[in-house]
């Protein structure tokens, strides 16, 4: 991995080496001994029971750390919103239900460096004065669950978690929970419902979790990556964190690169580097013989970027928002010139139809309708007027529901329509188009092999990590 020099806000060139993913390739990186040997839990030991909790919140606020789950809300600010003096216990819930297609970063932290996460949990709980943390893991992360459970046991045996941690008067209970396979449980309030033992229905906001969250108690919900950043920021200070990134998006972030690039994978880079550089330098450029058609920048729900937009794009929250898309969870999927966009959008819609929880009418019915319409385009059965209908249905879904799953389904549809309307219209007027396209697809990856292709392969079905097998 090459070092990436880049301009920090103060204009100095600061070299960057990975922080969170620094040790994941080392043997035994998930064990306590390995973590302690590289100075682990020292930050927690020197801070818990000694540092003023409020000052830790202030420190994180100063560092400018923004939530890594997708929305990018300033973490320290979120902590400062926690309702105080309610007479109820405060909870920390760590969201590890990583299920946004194209995103696979938290998995590496949980599987390969779980103690880093636990130290972040300990420091966060001290900062918000919570004695009970839940770590909610995606159900499919079996190795991650085993390693995190083992890590909690090890840390408990050493007295880092449990009663009177680090020989202070501070008690901390950490519970690792597993999801049961629903994408919606990665939505913060859906996760809270699931932790409570209920159906994973998102809750109406307000009240926000910081006021009334899990079990109607004040709750902080943070992403795994966000929490993993905390110990580094507490250890090195806010200024250290701010030396990378832009003014509004300081620091570094893990990006997941998949699709038609030579070296798909998980890369930790400073925020603010150009998308072009990220794809060319880290991803090794496009696979041979293919050119760039579009990029899904922040998980499957993020609106597409065309090659012209990619030229202008830098990897920070503001740049992507300015281009009408979003940084989201950092799952970047690169589509090459021969990708059948109808197949891609059909696959995308199939995912959201499958995963809508069914609570709100527009999402429950709209996702299914979009999938059925997208299927018609995919199969070449679409009629005149169906293109407009797609746009209409997507528009009727946006902003009309309790959580943003409806928006997550409608946004890609709207962006495909906006940027590649011609491809939709082609299907209406040229029904035979589908047949030609299918043959072309089989040439790239024979049908027999297609099922074994996972993310990163050149096949179109890799969009969304093999969702078509759901």
């Amino acid at each position: 991995m090459s070092e990436s020099p880049l301009n920090s806000p103060n204009g100095a060139m600061v070299p960057f080496t990975p922080v969170i993913l620094k040790h994941i390739h080392e043997a035994g990186s998930h064990t306590l001994d390995h973590y302690v040997a590289r100075g682990g839990y020292e930050t927690a030991r020197t801070n818990v029971g000694k540092t003023e909790p409020g000052s830790l919140v202030k420190l994180v606020e100063e560092s400018g750390l923004r939530g890594r789950g997708g929305a990018g809300f300033p973490t320290g600010k979120k902590w400062s919103f926690l309702a105080k003096g309610t007479g109820k216990p405060a909870y920390l819930t760590v969201n590890g239900d990583e299920s946004e297609p194209g995103t696979f970063k938290d998995r590496h932290i949980v599987e390969k460096d779980p103690h880093q996460l636990l130290e972040g949990v300990i420091l966060t709980c001290w900062a918000i004065q919570s004695h009970h943390a839940f770590i909610y893991l995606r159900g499919e992360f079996i190795l991650g669950y085993e390693r995190l459970e083992a890590a909690v046991r090890e840390a408990k045996a050493r007295g880092f978690i449990g009663k009177k941690i680090f020989d202070t008067d501070f008690d901390l209970k950490v519970v690792v929970m597993r999801g049961a396979g629903a994408y919606i449980c990665g939505e913060e309030t859906g996760m809270l419902s699931s932790i409570e033992g209920g159906r994973g229905y998102p809750k109406i906001k307000p009240p926000f979790p910081a006021v009334s969250g899990v079990f109607q108690c004040p709750t902080i919900v943070n992403n795994v990556e966000t929490i993993a950043c905390v110990s580094h920021i507490v250890k090195n200070g806010a200024a250290w964190h701010k030396q990378w990134g832009t003014e509004k998006s300081p620091g570094f972030k893990i990006f997941c690169l998949s699709g038609a690039v030579k070296k798909p994978g998980v890369y930790e880079v400073p925020l603010g580097i150009t998308m072009k550089e990220f794809i060319e330098v880290y991803g090794g450029g496009m696979i041979e013989g293919r050119t760039l058609k579009a990029v899904i920048p922040g998980g499957l729900s993020a609106p597409l970027l065309t090659p012209e937009m990619v030229e202008k794009c830098t990897l920070d929250y503001e740049s992507l928002a300015g281009l009408g898309s979003m940084l989201g969870s950092g799952g970047i999927t690169v589509l090459h010139d021969q990708v059948d966009l109808m197949s891609a959008i059909y696959n995308t819609m199939r995912f959201y139809h499958h995963e809508s929880c069914g609570q709100c009418t527009p999402c429950r019915e709209g996702t299914g309708w979009l999938e059925k319409l997208a299927h018609k385009f995919h199969e070449g059965h679409a009629h005149e007027g169906d293109v407009d209908l797609l746009g209409d249905v997507a528009r009727n879904m946006r902003g009309r529901t309790i959580c943003v799953l409806a928006d997550a389904a409608a946004m890609p549809m709207q962006s495909y329509l906006q940027l590649f309307r011609g491809e939709f219209e082609k299907r209406v007027h040229e029904p035979a188009y589908t047949e030609r396209k299918r043959t072309a697809r089989d040439e790239i990856t024979p049908a027999a092999k297609r099922d074994t292709v996972t993310q990163g392969g050149p096949d179109v079905l890799s969009v969304g990590m093999g969702m078509d097998r759901i």
């Binding site: 159906r199 069914g358 429950r364 009309r400």
Partner: protein, 485 residues
């Protein structure tokens, strides 16, 4: 409670600060469509039809989950709002079977109503619809999954009011449907409320199923007489003067929006085993003959009146007044159905006192405990000259105590609407047919001391008369008979 001022469609209103926008609208006669919102259940906010515009908010918000605030400006009309409702209506109907012609809810369905108000005149959905299961939820409730809009009113009802939590949502997305939890059955005594609160034809009553189209029914308000709660009810009758169903009317002071299954289903006695005509010594007689026979008997010394707690205040008062002038030595006792323990649910209580007017009996006749009064009379040994028995208890089963009283009565004058146990038992000299609570007006005092009046909801099905009119006629007869003497 602190009050806040807000504007709804330009009209200034003042409402308590803990209200939601939808409640403020409804209480000020501004219609806001809603499916999942129910005033007596928690807020789910999932149907998304109740969207209203709030000044300062970028897009319409759901009125059911939006708390009111000082200075808020709400608009329930406008392009944004109409567009949002139209969108939601379309989504609700794409997978709906549109089987109105065979659906029991047809005619009182919110999908139909709001479709007229906010829907499109044509469908744009040409794909295959999602089909869902049908199920029998319990003895009184059936489920048509495809019609369901998953508003979760029924789920919340079983959790919050009946408390059994029998129902839940299974599957996800547009496959979502309502189902029983394994090993459970929707057989609690409040199960039919789920039929009422279902805004569409998904949960239907097994008892009313295919009995009548609702637009053939005419409805009248009434008060349920089956226990001392006094639920406010609405009785639906067909063109043949037959009761088809009974449903609750909302009254927050008495029964909120609920009613028990027993109260809804106990109307068979109106149409079965009725005492059609007056009888004298077991033979049909004219009203005049029967009244004169009764007058002769009632003046006997040592007479006793036994009045059940199923009688209206008016009946009790008129009989009391009549006896005090006709035969002042007559003593008045009370009786009623046996009193069991209350059935208490988290959001509703079914009274164990299966008489509608025990409290009224105390007010009018001064009898505090009806059955203690019966016991006191049964404990006596003296012969009774004439027993005036005013029953009116449906499906009344004669008790040993009552038998002993009847055994030592020389004559019995019975006022009842049914040819039940009492008439068969034997020594009834005169039987005068009365009317059920559905056929007469009057008032009951419920267990909280609230006097509730009701009117007849239907034409009488027999030649019976209300007790008050019988008493008035007896008084008239007394004048006529007296003149002859």
């Amino acid at each position: 409670m602190k009050q806040v001022n807000l504007k709804i469609d330009g009209k200034d209103v003042t409402v308590p600060a803990d209200w939601t926008v939808i409640k403020a609208c409804h209480q000020n006669d501004v219609d806001v469509p809603h499916y999942c919102y129910h005033p007596d259940l928690s807020i789910a906010g999932n149907c998304r039809i109740c969207m209203v515009g709030v000044k300062g908010m970028p897009r319409p918000v759901v009125a059911c989950a939006q708390p009111v605030a000082e200075g808020m400006e709400v608009s329930t009309t406008g392009k944004d709002v109409e567009e949002a409702r139209k969108g939601v209506m379309e989504f609700l109907l794409i997978n709906h079977p549109l089987d109105c012609p065979e659906c029991d809810q047809s005619g009182e369905c919110k999908l139909q109503d709001y479709s007229y108000d906010h829907g499109r005149d044509h469908g744009r959905f040409h794909e295959e619809k999602v089909r869902k299961s049908k199920a029998t939820m319990g003895p009184h409730v059936k489920y048509w999954g495809s019609r369901c809009i998953v508003c979760t009113r029924c789920v919340r009802f079983t959790e919050e009011v009946s408390g059994g939590g029998e129902l839940g949502v299974i599957y996800r997305g547009d496959r979502s449907e309502i189902a029983l939890f394994p090993g459970k059955n929707l057989d609690n005594p409040l199960s039919m409320n789920n039929v009422d609160i279902c805004p569409v034809g998904a949960l239907v009553s097994s008892d009313f199923l295919f009995q009548s189209r609702v637009w053939h029914l005419h409805s009248n308000p009434s008060v349920c007489a089956d226990c001392s709660v006094g639920c406010n009810s609405r009785v639906d009758l067909d063109a043949k003067n037959q009761i088809k169903r009974i449903v609750p009317r909302q009254n927050d002071a008495v029964n909120k929006s609920w009613m028990c299954d027993h109260g809804r289903l106990s109307f068979d006695y109106v149409h079965e085993n009725r005492l059609q005509k007056p009888k004298v010594h077991g033979k049909d007689a004219t009203w005049k003959e029967a009244r004169r026979a009764a007058l002769d008997l009632l003046s006997a010394p040592g007479s006793v009146a036994l009045i059940s707690a199923w009688n209206t205040n008016e009946a009790m008062q008129s009989i009391k007044n009549f006896l005090s002038s006709e035969n002042p030595s007559t003593r008045i006792f009370g009786y009623g159905n046996t009193v069991e323990a209350d059935l208490v649910f988290p959001g509703f209580t079914i009274s164990g006192d299966k008489n509608p007017n025990c409290a009224g009996m105390k007010q009018v006749l001064g009898i505090g405990d009806a059955n203690a009064s019966l016991k006191a009379l049964a404990a006596e040994k003296d012969s009774i000259g004439c027993l005036l028995l005013v029953n009116n208890i449906p499906n009344f089963q004669i008790t040993a105590e009552l038998k002993s009283i009847l055994d030592r009565s020389q004559n019995v004058v019975l006022l009842d609407f049914a040819t039940g146990d009492l008439l068969r038992y034997g020594n009834v000299a005169v039987a005068l047919p009365t009317l059920t609570t559905f056929e007469k007006s009057g008032s009951f005092v419920n267990r909280t001391g609230l006097t509730q009046t009701f009117d007849a909801v239907m034409e009488p099905v027999t030649y019976g008369m209300p007790e008050t009119e019988i008493v008035a006629a007896l008084r008239g007869d007394r004048v006529a008979v007296g003149n002859q003497r």
